[in-house]
Protein backbone atom coordinates (compact mmCIF):
# COMPACT_ATOMS: atom_id res chain seq x y z
CA UNK A 1 0.00 0.00 0.00
CA UNK A 2 1.46 3.36 -0.90
CA UNK A 3 1.28 6.41 1.31
CA UNK A 4 -1.70 7.89 -0.46
CA UNK A 5 -3.71 4.70 -0.28
CA UNK A 6 -2.87 4.35 3.37
CA UNK A 7 -4.00 7.88 4.01
CA UNK A 8 -7.30 7.36 2.30
CA UNK A 9 -7.86 4.09 4.12
CA UNK A 10 -7.17 5.88 7.40
CA UNK A 11 -9.63 8.62 6.57
CA UNK A 12 -12.23 6.02 5.57
CA UNK A 13 -11.75 4.34 8.93
CA UNK A 14 -12.17 7.61 10.70
CA UNK A 15 -15.30 8.38 8.76
CA UNK A 16 -16.77 5.02 9.71
CA UNK A 17 -15.87 5.64 13.34
CA UNK A 18 -17.61 9.04 13.34
CA UNK A 19 -20.62 7.58 11.62
CA UNK A 20 -20.82 4.69 14.13
CA UNK A 21 -20.60 7.17 16.99
CA UNK A 22 -23.57 9.07 15.56
CA UNK A 23 -25.60 5.86 15.17
CA UNK A 24 -24.97 4.97 18.81
CA UNK A 25 -25.99 8.48 19.81
CA UNK A 26 -29.15 8.23 17.69
CA UNK A 27 -30.01 4.89 19.29
CA UNK A 28 -29.55 6.16 22.83
CA UNK A 29 -31.58 9.27 22.05
CA UNK A 30 -34.51 7.39 20.55
CA UNK A 31 -34.62 4.56 23.07
CA UNK A 32 -34.61 6.68 26.22
CA UNK A 33 -33.53 3.64 28.21
CA UNK A 34 -30.23 1.87 28.83
CA UNK A 35 -29.09 -0.18 25.83
CA UNK A 36 -26.67 -3.07 26.08
CA UNK A 37 -23.61 -3.85 23.96
CA UNK A 38 -25.48 -6.46 21.96
CA UNK A 39 -28.21 -4.05 20.85
CA UNK A 40 -25.70 -1.32 20.10
CA UNK A 41 -23.41 -3.70 18.24
CA UNK A 42 -26.23 -4.92 16.01
CA UNK A 43 -26.90 -1.35 14.90
CA UNK A 44 -23.36 -0.80 13.67
CA UNK A 45 -22.94 -4.31 12.35
CA UNK A 46 -20.41 -5.71 14.77
CA UNK A 47 -20.26 -8.44 17.37
CA UNK A 48 -17.06 -7.14 18.88
CA UNK A 49 -17.70 -6.03 22.40
CA UNK A 50 -14.39 -4.22 22.50
CA UNK A 51 -15.36 -2.12 19.51
CA UNK A 52 -18.74 -1.15 20.91
CA UNK A 53 -17.18 -0.40 24.26
CA UNK A 54 -14.55 1.85 22.70
CA UNK A 55 -17.22 3.73 20.76
CA UNK A 56 -19.55 4.11 23.72
CA UNK A 57 -16.72 5.32 25.94
CA UNK A 58 -15.65 7.83 23.31
CA UNK A 59 -19.21 9.16 23.05
CA UNK A 60 -19.39 9.36 26.82
CA UNK A 61 -16.17 11.37 26.90
CA UNK A 62 -17.37 13.69 24.17
CA UNK A 63 -20.50 14.49 26.13
CA UNK A 64 -18.47 14.99 29.27
CA UNK A 65 -16.19 17.50 27.58
CA UNK A 66 -19.04 19.61 26.23
CA UNK A 67 -20.92 22.21 28.25
CA UNK A 68 -24.15 20.34 27.79
CA UNK A 69 -27.29 19.51 29.73
CA UNK A 70 -27.13 15.89 28.65
CA UNK A 71 -24.97 13.05 29.86
CA UNK A 72 -24.21 9.48 28.93
CA UNK A 73 -23.90 7.08 31.83
CA UNK A 74 -22.63 3.54 32.03
CA UNK A 75 -24.69 1.09 34.04
CA UNK A 76 -23.93 -2.30 35.47
CA UNK A 77 -24.27 -5.05 32.90
CA UNK A 78 -22.45 -3.08 30.21
CA UNK A 79 -25.32 -0.80 29.37
CA UNK A 80 -25.32 2.85 28.38
CA UNK A 81 -27.99 5.52 28.65
CA UNK A 82 -28.42 9.11 27.46
CA UNK A 83 -30.31 11.34 29.85
CA UNK A 84 -30.72 14.84 31.20
CA UNK A 85 -28.31 15.84 33.96
CA UNK A 86 -30.29 15.76 37.19
CA UNK A 87 -29.53 19.41 38.00
CA UNK A 88 -31.69 20.54 35.05
CA UNK A 89 -34.70 18.41 35.96
CA UNK A 90 -36.49 20.96 38.19
CA UNK A 91 -36.39 23.63 35.51
CA UNK A 92 -37.78 21.59 32.63
CA UNK A 93 -39.70 18.64 34.04
CA UNK A 94 -43.10 20.09 33.19
CA UNK A 95 -42.17 20.08 29.51
CA UNK A 96 -41.66 16.32 29.45
CA UNK A 97 -44.06 14.44 27.22
CA UNK A 98 -43.74 11.36 29.28
CA UNK A 99 -46.22 11.16 32.07
CA UNK A 100 -44.22 11.98 35.16
CA UNK A 101 -44.95 11.05 38.72
CA UNK A 102 -45.33 13.51 41.54
CA UNK A 103 -43.57 13.17 44.88
CA UNK A 104 -46.22 10.98 46.55
CA UNK A 105 -46.16 8.09 44.08
CA UNK A 106 -42.37 8.31 43.89
CA UNK A 107 -42.16 7.84 47.65
CA UNK A 108 -44.42 4.81 47.41
CA UNK A 109 -42.23 3.46 44.61
CA UNK A 110 -39.15 3.99 46.75
CA UNK A 111 -40.71 2.06 49.60
CA UNK A 112 -41.80 -0.82 47.38
CA UNK A 113 -38.37 -1.04 45.78
CA UNK A 114 -36.67 -1.08 49.16
CA UNK A 115 -38.94 -3.62 50.86
CA UNK A 116 -39.89 -5.82 47.93
CA UNK A 117 -41.42 -8.30 47.65
CA UNK A 118 -43.80 -6.51 50.01
CA UNK A 119 -47.47 -7.23 50.87
CA UNK A 120 -49.82 -4.57 49.51
CA UNK A 121 -51.33 -4.13 52.98
CA UNK A 122 -47.95 -3.23 54.40
CA UNK A 123 -47.48 -0.55 51.75
CA UNK A 124 -50.90 0.91 52.56
CA UNK A 125 -50.13 0.80 56.28
CA UNK A 126 -46.92 2.73 55.85
CA UNK A 127 -47.92 5.11 53.07
CA UNK A 128 -51.61 5.63 53.87
CA UNK A 129 -54.79 5.03 51.92
CA UNK A 130 -53.95 7.33 49.05
CA UNK A 131 -51.22 4.84 48.17
CA UNK A 132 -53.85 2.66 46.44
CA UNK A 133 -53.92 5.37 43.77
CA UNK A 134 -50.13 5.50 43.65
CA UNK A 135 -49.92 1.76 43.13
CA UNK A 136 -52.36 1.96 40.25
CA UNK A 137 -50.31 4.74 38.66
CA UNK A 138 -47.06 2.84 39.14
CA UNK A 139 -48.62 -0.28 37.66
CA UNK A 140 -49.86 1.71 34.66
CA UNK A 141 -46.32 2.90 34.05
CA UNK A 142 -45.08 -0.67 34.26
CA UNK A 143 -42.84 0.15 37.23
CA UNK A 144 -44.39 -2.41 39.59
CA UNK A 145 -46.40 -5.61 39.41
CA UNK A 146 -48.91 -6.97 41.90
CA UNK A 147 -48.96 -10.71 42.33
CA UNK A 148 -51.48 -12.84 44.21
CA UNK A 149 -49.93 -14.93 46.99
CA UNK A 150 -52.83 -16.83 48.49
CA UNK A 151 -55.29 -14.22 49.68
CA UNK A 152 -52.68 -11.48 49.82
CA UNK A 153 -51.32 -9.26 47.11
CA UNK A 154 -47.57 -8.91 46.96
CA UNK A 155 -45.79 -6.14 45.13
CA UNK A 156 -42.44 -6.03 43.43
CA UNK A 157 -40.74 -3.80 40.89
CA UNK A 158 -40.53 -4.81 37.24
CA UNK A 159 -37.55 -5.39 35.00
CA UNK A 160 -38.42 -2.11 33.32
CA UNK A 161 -38.00 -0.41 36.69
CA UNK A 162 -34.50 -1.85 37.05
CA UNK A 163 -33.62 -0.84 33.52
CA UNK A 164 -35.02 2.63 33.95
CA UNK A 165 -32.85 3.35 36.94
CA UNK A 166 -29.92 1.33 35.69
CA UNK A 167 -30.21 -1.11 38.57
CA UNK A 168 -29.34 -4.76 38.67
CA UNK A 169 -32.02 -7.34 37.88
CA UNK A 170 -30.76 -9.38 40.81
CA UNK A 171 -32.89 -8.44 43.79
CA UNK A 172 -30.12 -8.49 46.39
CA UNK A 173 -27.73 -6.47 44.29
CA UNK A 174 -30.52 -4.03 43.45
CA UNK A 175 -31.34 -3.48 47.09
CA UNK A 176 -27.68 -2.80 47.83
CA UNK A 177 -27.57 -0.29 44.97
CA UNK A 178 -30.76 1.40 46.20
CA UNK A 179 -29.35 1.67 49.69
CA UNK A 180 -26.37 3.55 48.39
CA UNK A 181 -28.63 5.85 46.31
CA UNK A 182 -30.74 6.59 49.39
CA UNK A 183 -27.63 7.34 51.39
CA UNK A 184 -26.55 9.81 48.71
CA UNK A 185 -29.96 11.42 48.93
CA UNK A 186 -29.63 11.81 52.65
CA UNK A 187 -26.72 14.21 52.18
CA UNK A 188 -28.09 17.68 52.93
CA UNK A 189 -26.93 19.53 49.81
CA UNK A 190 -28.75 17.02 47.65
CA UNK A 191 -31.84 17.03 49.79
CA UNK A 192 -32.26 20.71 49.10
CA UNK A 193 -32.13 20.10 45.41
CA UNK A 194 -34.71 17.36 45.62
CA UNK A 195 -37.08 19.51 47.58
CA UNK A 196 -36.94 22.09 44.85
CA UNK A 197 -38.11 19.49 42.42
CA UNK A 198 -41.50 19.21 44.01
Amino acid sequence: MNEKEQESSESLKEEKFTRDLAVLEAALYVAGRPLDFKTLGRLIGTRSKTKVKRLAKTLMEKYKNRDTALEILEFEGERFVLQLKAEYTPKVRRLATRQLLSRGPLKTLSYVAYRQPVPQLQVIDVRGHHAYGHLRQLEDLDLIIRERAGRKKVIRTTEFFADYFGLSHDLRTMKRQLKSIFEDFARPELEEKTNLEK
Partner: protein, 224 residues
Protein backbone atom coordinates in the same frame (compact mmCIF):
# COMPACT_ATOMS: atom_id res chain seq x y z
CA UNK B 1 -63.93 -7.03 109.64
CA UNK B 2 -64.39 -10.30 107.77
CA UNK B 3 -63.71 -10.84 104.14
CA UNK B 4 -67.45 -10.84 103.44
CA UNK B 5 -67.38 -7.08 104.04
CA UNK B 6 -64.72 -6.61 101.36
CA UNK B 7 -65.77 -5.00 98.11
CA UNK B 8 -66.80 -7.60 95.53
CA UNK B 9 -64.17 -8.39 92.90
CA UNK B 10 -66.10 -6.63 90.14
CA UNK B 11 -65.58 -3.27 91.79
CA UNK B 12 -61.95 -3.64 90.76
CA UNK B 13 -60.63 -2.66 87.35
CA UNK B 14 -61.26 -3.57 84.64
CA UNK B 15 -64.83 -4.66 85.52
CA UNK B 16 -65.61 -1.59 87.71
CA UNK B 17 -66.52 0.40 84.59
CA UNK B 18 -69.64 -1.78 84.29
CA UNK B 19 -70.67 -0.79 87.80
CA UNK B 20 -69.71 2.88 87.87
CA UNK B 21 -71.41 4.12 84.75
CA UNK B 22 -70.98 7.78 85.66
CA UNK B 23 -67.27 7.33 84.82
CA UNK B 24 -68.19 6.65 81.23
CA UNK B 25 -68.95 10.34 80.80
CA UNK B 26 -65.24 10.96 81.10
CA UNK B 27 -63.90 8.29 78.80
CA UNK B 28 -64.62 7.25 75.23
CA UNK B 29 -66.94 4.28 74.81
CA UNK B 30 -64.52 3.10 72.09
CA UNK B 31 -62.01 2.41 74.87
CA UNK B 32 -64.31 -0.19 76.40
CA UNK B 33 -64.08 -3.73 75.05
CA UNK B 34 -67.48 -5.06 76.10
CA UNK B 35 -67.02 -8.64 75.01
CA UNK B 36 -63.73 -8.91 76.87
CA UNK B 37 -65.26 -7.40 80.03
CA UNK B 38 -68.31 -9.67 80.05
CA UNK B 39 -66.27 -12.75 79.19
CA UNK B 40 -63.69 -12.20 81.89
CA UNK B 41 -66.40 -11.19 84.38
CA UNK B 42 -68.17 -14.52 83.90
CA UNK B 43 -64.91 -16.43 84.06
CA UNK B 44 -63.88 -14.70 87.27
CA UNK B 45 -67.28 -15.34 88.83
CA UNK B 46 -67.10 -19.03 87.92
CA UNK B 47 -63.57 -19.26 89.22
CA UNK B 48 -64.57 -17.77 92.54
CA UNK B 49 -67.79 -19.73 92.71
CA UNK B 50 -69.68 -16.56 93.66
CA UNK B 51 -72.62 -16.56 91.30
CA UNK B 52 -74.41 -13.22 91.67
CA UNK B 53 -77.34 -12.72 89.35
CA UNK B 54 -77.88 -9.13 90.43
CA UNK B 55 -74.32 -8.23 89.46
CA UNK B 56 -74.73 -10.07 86.17
CA UNK B 57 -77.89 -8.13 85.48
CA UNK B 58 -76.18 -4.83 86.18
CA UNK B 59 -73.23 -5.82 83.99
CA UNK B 60 -75.56 -6.71 81.12
CA UNK B 61 -77.52 -3.49 81.52
CA UNK B 62 -74.32 -1.42 81.54
CA UNK B 63 -73.02 -3.24 78.47
CA UNK B 64 -76.19 -2.37 76.60
CA UNK B 65 -75.75 1.27 77.56
CA UNK B 66 -72.15 1.30 76.36
CA UNK B 67 -73.18 -0.42 73.17
CA UNK B 68 -75.86 2.19 72.64
CA UNK B 69 -73.30 4.96 73.16
CA UNK B 70 -71.10 3.41 70.50
CA UNK B 71 -74.03 3.16 68.07
CA UNK B 72 -74.88 6.80 68.68
CA UNK B 73 -71.33 7.83 67.93
CA UNK B 74 -71.47 5.85 64.74
CA UNK B 75 -74.67 7.65 63.77
CA UNK B 76 -72.98 10.93 64.52
CA UNK B 77 -70.47 9.67 61.98
CA UNK B 78 -67.66 9.89 64.45
CA UNK B 79 -64.66 7.75 63.63
CA UNK B 80 -63.58 5.14 66.17
CA UNK B 81 -59.97 5.67 67.20
CA UNK B 82 -57.42 4.14 64.83
CA UNK B 83 -55.74 0.95 66.01
CA UNK B 84 -52.48 1.55 67.82
CA UNK B 85 -49.66 2.21 65.34
CA UNK B 86 -46.48 0.21 65.29
CA UNK B 87 -43.28 2.24 65.10
CA UNK B 88 -43.05 3.53 61.53
CA UNK B 89 -41.05 1.59 58.99
CA UNK B 90 -38.01 3.18 57.37
CA UNK B 91 -39.22 5.43 54.57
CA UNK B 92 -36.63 5.94 51.87
CA UNK B 93 -36.62 9.27 50.01
CA UNK B 94 -38.53 9.42 46.71
CA UNK B 95 -36.77 7.99 43.69
CA UNK B 96 -36.84 10.73 41.10
CA UNK B 97 -37.12 9.43 37.59
CA UNK B 98 -34.29 10.68 35.42
CA UNK B 99 -35.62 12.67 32.49
CA UNK B 100 -35.04 10.98 29.19
CA UNK B 101 -36.53 11.77 25.88
CA UNK B 102 -38.05 8.72 24.28
CA UNK B 103 -39.32 8.61 20.76
CA UNK B 104 -42.83 7.27 20.91
CA UNK B 105 -44.04 4.86 18.30
CA UNK B 106 -47.58 6.25 18.00
CA UNK B 107 -48.36 7.52 14.52
CA UNK B 108 -51.32 9.11 12.81
CA UNK B 109 -52.26 5.61 11.69
CA UNK B 110 -52.61 4.43 15.27
CA UNK B 111 -54.73 7.48 16.00
CA UNK B 112 -57.11 6.92 13.12
CA UNK B 113 -57.16 3.17 13.54
CA UNK B 114 -59.28 3.55 16.65
CA UNK B 115 -61.50 6.32 15.26
CA UNK B 116 -63.88 3.95 13.52
CA UNK B 117 -64.72 2.29 16.81
CA UNK B 118 -65.23 5.62 18.53
CA UNK B 119 -67.57 6.91 15.87
CA UNK B 120 -69.68 3.76 16.27
CA UNK B 121 -70.07 4.77 19.92
CA UNK B 122 -71.27 8.17 18.79
CA UNK B 123 -74.20 6.64 16.93
CA UNK B 124 -75.30 4.77 20.05
CA UNK B 125 -75.69 7.93 22.11
CA UNK B 126 -79.30 9.17 22.01
CA UNK B 127 -79.69 12.80 21.11
CA UNK B 128 -82.40 13.49 23.71
CA UNK B 129 -81.62 16.06 26.38
CA UNK B 130 -79.79 14.90 29.49
CA UNK B 131 -81.98 13.88 32.40
CA UNK B 132 -82.13 16.14 35.39
CA UNK B 133 -81.04 14.51 38.65
CA UNK B 134 -83.78 12.44 40.27
CA UNK B 135 -84.09 14.53 43.36
CA UNK B 136 -83.48 18.23 43.09
CA UNK B 137 -81.92 19.69 46.22
CA UNK B 138 -84.40 21.94 47.99
CA UNK B 139 -83.50 25.62 47.70
CA UNK B 140 -84.03 26.36 51.38
CA UNK B 141 -83.03 23.78 53.91
CA UNK B 142 -85.21 23.55 56.98
CA UNK B 143 -83.60 24.69 60.23
CA UNK B 144 -82.45 21.38 61.58
CA UNK B 145 -79.31 20.60 63.35
CA UNK B 146 -76.20 19.90 61.37
CA UNK B 147 -76.24 16.24 62.15
CA UNK B 148 -79.71 15.67 60.80
CA UNK B 149 -78.89 17.76 57.78
CA UNK B 150 -75.95 15.54 57.06
CA UNK B 151 -78.13 12.48 57.31
CA UNK B 152 -80.61 13.99 54.86
CA UNK B 153 -77.81 14.74 52.47
CA UNK B 154 -76.38 11.28 52.81
CA UNK B 155 -79.82 9.77 52.25
CA UNK B 156 -80.16 11.71 49.07
CA UNK B 157 -76.69 10.71 47.88
CA UNK B 158 -77.29 7.07 48.62
CA UNK B 159 -80.69 7.19 46.98
CA UNK B 160 -79.19 8.67 43.84
CA UNK B 161 -76.51 6.03 43.87
CA UNK B 162 -79.13 3.29 44.22
CA UNK B 163 -81.10 4.76 41.32
CA UNK B 164 -77.93 4.58 39.28
CA UNK B 165 -77.46 0.94 40.21
CA UNK B 166 -81.11 0.26 39.43
CA UNK B 167 -80.69 1.63 35.94
CA UNK B 168 -78.11 -1.10 35.31
CA UNK B 169 -79.94 -3.99 36.97
CA UNK B 170 -83.37 -4.19 38.55
CA UNK B 171 -82.14 -5.98 41.64
CA UNK B 172 -79.52 -4.28 43.79
CA UNK B 173 -77.31 -6.34 46.08
CA UNK B 174 -76.12 -4.41 49.13
CA UNK B 175 -72.66 -5.97 49.02
CA UNK B 176 -72.20 -4.39 45.59
CA UNK B 177 -73.17 -0.97 46.91
CA UNK B 178 -70.50 -1.12 49.59
CA UNK B 179 -67.89 -3.00 47.56
CA UNK B 180 -64.42 -1.70 48.27
CA UNK B 181 -65.53 0.46 51.21
CA UNK B 182 -63.97 0.51 54.64
CA UNK B 183 -65.92 -1.37 57.29
CA UNK B 184 -66.99 1.83 59.02
CA UNK B 185 -68.10 3.42 55.75
CA UNK B 186 -70.12 0.32 54.95
CA UNK B 187 -71.82 0.48 58.35
CA UNK B 188 -72.68 4.14 57.77
CA UNK B 189 -74.14 3.30 54.35
CA UNK B 190 -76.21 0.54 55.96
CA UNK B 191 -77.61 2.88 58.59
CA UNK B 192 -78.55 5.43 55.95
CA UNK B 193 -80.16 2.61 53.99
CA UNK B 194 -82.32 1.82 57.03
CA UNK B 195 -83.45 5.45 57.08
CA UNK B 196 -84.40 5.19 53.41
CA UNK B 197 -86.33 1.98 54.09
CA UNK B 198 -88.10 3.63 56.98
CA UNK B 199 -89.21 6.44 54.69
CA UNK B 200 -90.52 3.87 52.24
CA UNK B 201 -88.06 4.87 49.51
CA UNK B 202 -86.64 1.36 49.26
CA UNK B 203 -87.56 -2.20 50.16
CA UNK B 204 -85.04 -4.48 51.83
CA UNK B 205 -85.13 -8.22 52.03
CA UNK B 206 -83.01 -11.31 52.49
CA UNK B 207 -83.54 -14.79 51.15
CA UNK B 208 -81.81 -16.42 54.09
CA UNK B 209 -81.05 -15.19 57.59
CA UNK B 210 -77.43 -14.45 56.82
CA UNK B 211 -77.79 -14.26 53.05
CA UNK B 212 -77.19 -11.25 50.83
CA UNK B 213 -79.30 -8.16 51.40
CA UNK B 214 -81.37 -7.12 48.40
CA UNK B 215 -82.70 -3.66 47.70
CA UNK B 216 -85.44 -2.51 45.38
CA UNK B 217 -86.41 1.08 44.79
CA UNK B 218 -90.07 1.68 45.48
CA UNK B 219 -90.04 5.32 44.50
CA UNK B 220 -91.99 6.26 47.63
CA UNK B 221 -92.32 9.78 49.00
CA UNK B 222 -89.40 12.05 48.18
CA UNK B 223 -86.40 12.39 50.43
CA UNK B 224 -86.89 15.70 52.12
Amino acid sequence: MSSSMEKPFYFQPPWNILFELHRLQKIMPWDVNISFLLGSFLEEMEKRGEIDFRASGVALDSSTTIYLMKSKLLLKLEEPPPPPKLPPDFLPPPLFLPLRYELSSTTIHHLLNVLDEVLKGERLVPSEPRLEPFLPTPEVLPQVDLYLMEIEERMENLYNLLCQFASEAKLIVFSKVVAGLEKLEAVKKFIILLFLAQRGKVNLWQEEDFGGLYITITGGPSVE
